[in-house]
Symmetry: C2
Subunit: 96 residues, 2 copies
């Protein structure tokens, strides 16, 4: 493979990174909305049953090459970041 | 917000999770191709300059709500998983 071909592959990776970035932030907006709704309902934001459902969905739809355990590890980091965002919103709401 | 509305938001999150899953695996295929090419060239697979470039791109294109540091943490996990995949391929190639 030539260096030019390698650069094409790297450009494709960059494109995917930007799509991932947008989707992760789009997900974060939804998680913020869910957090606000749960706050009104007085429900705890962390929901282990819901998290288990999402992790199962990853497992059922994984066509590789990553192992499901690797993907679930990455998704847990995304979930954790979402939860932190909800907590920040909650703190800000208390300060208003 | 009603529970039905909450369910709609959760369905949207599930949809995004599946898109993320597909993109992360698509990225992994590209990373495998890059790994094979570098192996032929005898180049080290971990490339800190390339990683820095990708992290900068995240920073420049981040429209929130996540902080760049949070996103870079998530992406580092994705990069790490990609590197592990290349190492596995390398080990398998040695065993052939």
């Amino acid at each position: 493979m030539s260096n030019a071909e390698l650069d094409i592959l790297r450009d494709k990776v960059d494109e995917i990174n930007l799509k991932l970035l947008d989707l992760i932030n789009e997900r974060a907006h939804l998680v913020q909305e869910i957090g606000k709704a749960k706050e009104v309902q007085g429900v705890n934001q962390y929901d282990p049953v819901r998290e288990r459902h999402m992790l199962n969905l990853i497992n059922e739809n994984n066509n590789g090459p990553f192992e499901t355990s690797t993907l679930q590890h990455i998704f847990k980091e995304i979930f954790k970041a979402g939860l932190e965002l909800q907590k920040d919103d909650h703190r800000k709401a208390l300060l208003v």
